[in-house]
Symmetry: C2
């Protein structure tokens, strides 16, 4: 199949084995706690039983329009987990669910529980609001993942029949349409890759290109339901919620519902990579630049606003009221992953790393059984993870991302092996016609030393391209113990040579504690700094402090030291030093006072912990951005 625009290809899950001190325990928690926990909740909430199609009008707990997607994402997570670690019980559960799905499929291929048992006469009548194509997309992703993980065609065949059905309904000369919640586009691209069936790619292309065209499909669809078009009530801007305000090729600013946006752009990037569609790729680049340089939290969170779960204006990045949905950060990882395959630009991988280690990982508790839907950068102490949500998109989304982490670490091209993430692991790939094995050893993200050992049957010439993260200002590379001069191009240090079996490359990245400032247009962070070290963004949590953490200022000059604290939060590097707490006195009877009357602030010990670990101890306030003093 063509690879017109991609400069490299990610390794498949089966090609990578993770053996990392940081990630391995988290992936194990995902496998042993999160995936069973989510399964139990799918069952308890009726999502699994709903697949039996036994619900009848008058019964309680009608299957909801997005339930199928939750089940599908769990299946996808379970599949990735099975690929990495066989588990007979899990496989049995998955097969049972897949069997129910196959039986729930209608003779024409249609597969959606809600619109089969609750509103059978409303099939495809409200693509804008009712998540049918969204659920279909997740089922397709699950089918692809399950096939790739297990080699079984059971779910793949089911979702192919469903995709065939959808293809028979929508497209040029058929019904007009596209989803209100994007997702099916990237799913169809995956299905195309695994089946080589070009119809699926063309259907994705149809959904992408139809989006935003005038006359506007959502208007026509509303009128067909006897409703007023929405934008007559809310103005044209409301179309931005669905990214349908313009044809996608004309879009330049990331807008609207953040998860939808990220899934759409990922699908666009997939399509551009497969078809070599330059104008579409150009739109992806503009949207990428906009999100990465104007609408990205330092944690990798995206989608600033609670209203509409949406992007705000450029540089609108409030902290306590940040939405930064876990699923949106995951969607950003998807978009970033596609962009750097195409662009070979480490800046895209930097964003992926930022999200992974911060705004994605914050979504899940240490025990793997509680989740954030919303990931603010400051809290008064009233924001906590929960076991599940009525709208349960985030937990299984985290589970599937973590279970598939291996695919994000490396890529291979015809003559280069790329290391994007520093994760201790073994990988195998074909590069320059030869099978290359790479063993990576590192304690990243807690320190910046990485060793890579190359395994080869016989010598081969190719490039080893090591990502030099944007946060890294000083590094050295050595080959077999000898310092090597390397050139860094677009964020990758390249070693091109004839490699021999057993060659060892070491990368030593200095990882000092840094104070980071936000662009001055980010009004809420003016006069503030965040503490970072390597890829990790830090925060102050109340339980480590006596003074209210949100009142503590950080002098520019005080020394901050990093140490690995084995007993804190399962073991992590904490950063300690001295801050300034406001004098507490003089406020009796006052909410506002002359600044000149404030007493001198008092030095106070501070301890910063990784942001992603907050809310795993005693409930309390938290803050990322500290006022400078």
């Amino acid at each position: 199949m063509a690879l017109a625009n991609r400069k490299m290809q990610p390794l498949a899950l089966a090609q990578v084995r993770i053996a990392d001190g940081f990630w391995r325990p988290r992936l194990d928690v995902n496998r042993t706690a999160s995936i069973p926990h989510i399964y139990a909740l799918l069952k308890k909430t009726g999502r699994l039983d709903a697949l039996r199609l036994a619900w009848k009008p008058g019964d309680e707990n009608p299957p909801h329009i997005f339930w199928d997607s939750d089940t599908a994402k769990w299946l996808e997570a379970a599949s990735y987990s099975l690929a990495a670690c066989p588990d007979a019980a899990l496989e049995k559960h998955a097969d049972a669910v897949i069997d129910l799905l196959a039986k729930a499929q209608q003779p024409d291929g249609y597969l959606n529980v809600h619109f089969t048992v609750v509103e059978p006469d409303r099939r495809w009548t409200n693509l804008r609001d009712w998540h049918e194509l969204y659920c279909a997309g997740h089922l397709i992703e699950a089918g692809v993942a399950h096939f790739e993980a297990t080699g079984k065609r059971t779910l793949l065949d089911t979702v192919c029949r469903y995709a065939d059905h959808i293809d028979s309904v929508f497209g040029p000369g058929k019904r007009t349409g596209y989803p209100g919640h994007e997702e099916i586009e990237l799913a169809l691209a995956k299905l195309y890759r695994v089946t080589d069936e070009e119809r699926y790619l063309r259907l994705a292309e149809y959904f992408i290109d139809e989006r935003g065209r005038r006359p506007h499909f959502f208007d026509e669809e509303a009128e067909a339901r006897g409703e007023q078009p929405l934008r007559h009530r809310q103005g044209d801007r409301s179309l931005e919620y669905w990214q349908t305000h313009l044809p996608v090729r004309e879009q330049s600013e990331v807008v609207g519902h953040a998860v939808r946006a990220m899934y759409l752009y990922s699908g666009m990037a997939d399509l551009a990579a497969e078809t070599g569609d330059e104008p579409l790729l150009a739109a992806c680049r503009r949207l990428w630049q906009n999100v990465a340089l104007r609408k990205l939290y330092i944690t990798g969170g995206v989608g600033a606003r609670h209203g509409g779960e949406s992007f705000g204006r450029n540089h609108e990045l409030p902290n306590e009221s940040a939405y930064a949905e876990t699923c949106a950060a995951i969607g950003l990882v998807f978009f970033a992953h596609r962009m750097f395959q195409t662009e070979a630009d480490g800046a895209c991988a930097d964003v992926m790393e930022r999200a992974l280690y911060n705004g994605v990982l914050s979504g899940i508790s240490l025990d793997g059984r509680k989740f954030f839907y919303v990931n603010p950068l400051a809290s008064a102490g009233d924001h906590h993870r929960r076991p599940f949500f009525g709208c349960a998109c985030c937990p299984p989304n985290l589970a599937r991302l973590l279970a598939s982490l291996g695919t994000y670490v490396y890529s291979a091209s015809d003559d280069a092996f790329y290391v994007h993430l520093y994760v201790a692991s073994q990988a195998t790939a074909e590069v320059a016609g030869r099978k290359v094995a790479v063993t990576q050893e590192t304690d990243y993200p807690w320190n910046g030393d990485v060793a890579l050992v190359i395994g080869l049957d016989r010598s081969a010439k190719f490039s080893l391209r090591l990502r030099v993260p944007g946060w890294c200002r000083k590094f050295t590379v050595a080959v077999n113990g000898k310092r090597a001069a390397v050139r860094v191009t677009k964020g990758y240090a390249t070693l091109r040579r004839v490699w021999k079996d057993g060659d060892t490359v070491t990368l030593a990245m200095a990882m000092p504690v840094e104070r980071v400032a936000a662009h001055p247009a980010v009004a809420e962070d003016m006069g503030r700094v965040a503490i970072t070290r390597g890829p990790i963004v830090y925060c102050l949590e109340q339980c480590d402090h006596r003074a209210p953490v949100r009142s503590i200022a950080l002098p520019d000059m005080t020394r901050l030291t990093a140490r690995f604290a084995r007993r804190i939060l399962g073991g992590c590097v904490v950063i300690e030093g001295s801050g300034l707490a406001p004098a507490p006195s003089g406020w009796k009877g006052n909410l506002y006072r002359r600044a000149a009357d404030l007493g001198a602030p008092r030095p106070t010990k501070i301890r910063a912990i990784p942001y992603f670990l907050w809310d795993n101890r005693k409930a309390g306030a938290m803050t990322v951005w500290l006022p400078r003093a």
Copy 2:
């Protein structure tokens, strides 16, 4: 009538003539622009024609459940305006509306357009959501205002009949009930004062004391409609929205919808003042302390959250996302006004002054024809006043408050004359059995010099009590040119003596520019200061600056100077000095950077304008709280 708890009584509108350089032009704009503008919009939107009861099912534009309240507030504003300044055309308009109201009244006294023509079978079936008692309250306030202003009983008689009807429906032994949107409580207290009919006060007492009792009336009412009680869905906290989570006497924290809260507490304070009900007054005091010391913007705005238009937690006072509804600041003025009549505590009047000169006045444009519903303390430049709102509570609320400003300036007790606000005016009152005339001269709020001339038929001994604002740190008082030693008790400087006709008192308050800090628990203002001078809170507006205003920091030590600028915004004191703007370079390709790499900030001229005047020039960003540097 008893005055068990009030230490003083405000002067009636007829007793005060305002001749103030600051307020007079604004009151004239209110009379000549705002009141006619609002009348035109009431007419244009169908609110006035609706009073003819001609709407029939199937017609467009059904009269909305809160329309009557908009009309009533306009009538109240028109009445106050007529009291101060006869205007035949306005009187004719008002009389015509009053005539329509009388004709719209049903034989049993009921008077509500929506529930007469749109949903006649739903009368009194949803007090929680449908604003019937709220509209009734505003009609009653209008009736009282119109009678006091014109001596005509037309509207007063109508609203008495309506109040009698309501009294026949609700109360002990009758139907249980109280409003979802409080307002009728304070209105009934006013009606009691003007009619001396104790039933009205008892009905207010019933609504106040029934509130929050268990079993919960809103539940019973919902069940009677065949609906689930709300709190079964949303948890008990949702009751806070309506201040019905506890019996009002047990409440200590201001919660829920801010306007509703302020109107309720005002009604509670009225009732306590009339009945001498100490436990109720104690609840008012606790609620007052909570709002004044924990939930008040520096502008006098209240109600931090857009969600539910409601109060946030203690110290939750975000700036850009502040709700601070104009009506809530007006409600705070009502509550404050009642509290200092009872408490004789200048701290209450300080809050009233803070709201009046900042968060209330910001609600209206210089030309009197555009209004803020929401009053944030920072803006990216996308927040602007509008001519009217679908929910049009704020414009006529501003109009009635401004038209009745005279009643807020002075109070009289048996042996004291109180000056609460510094507003050039003439006032007459009875103190110590004698008629006292007071002429006040001042350029407040632009400077702190005030002269008061006492007019008396013959000498009389009484106290003159001058409020020394909380912002004032240095002042002198002189009588007939001779410095007087005064003691300040609870915010009032008292001169007790035998006054002669022509005695002149001068109060000279130093009014330096101040940098003010917020309590360290107000997380968003940490490390920031606001610029104030006298009662006026300042802001930076983009059109006065080249650097983005929200990026400008204010060094602690630079000099800030005040000058009266005749040509700016109709004439106002502006504050000028030097701030620091971040170096603009180095951000290409970066949203976050090492703080140590930032270039040195550059001095930049700043000009601060009064907050209430922002958004009257070129649209742009605005900020109140500046980072300290």
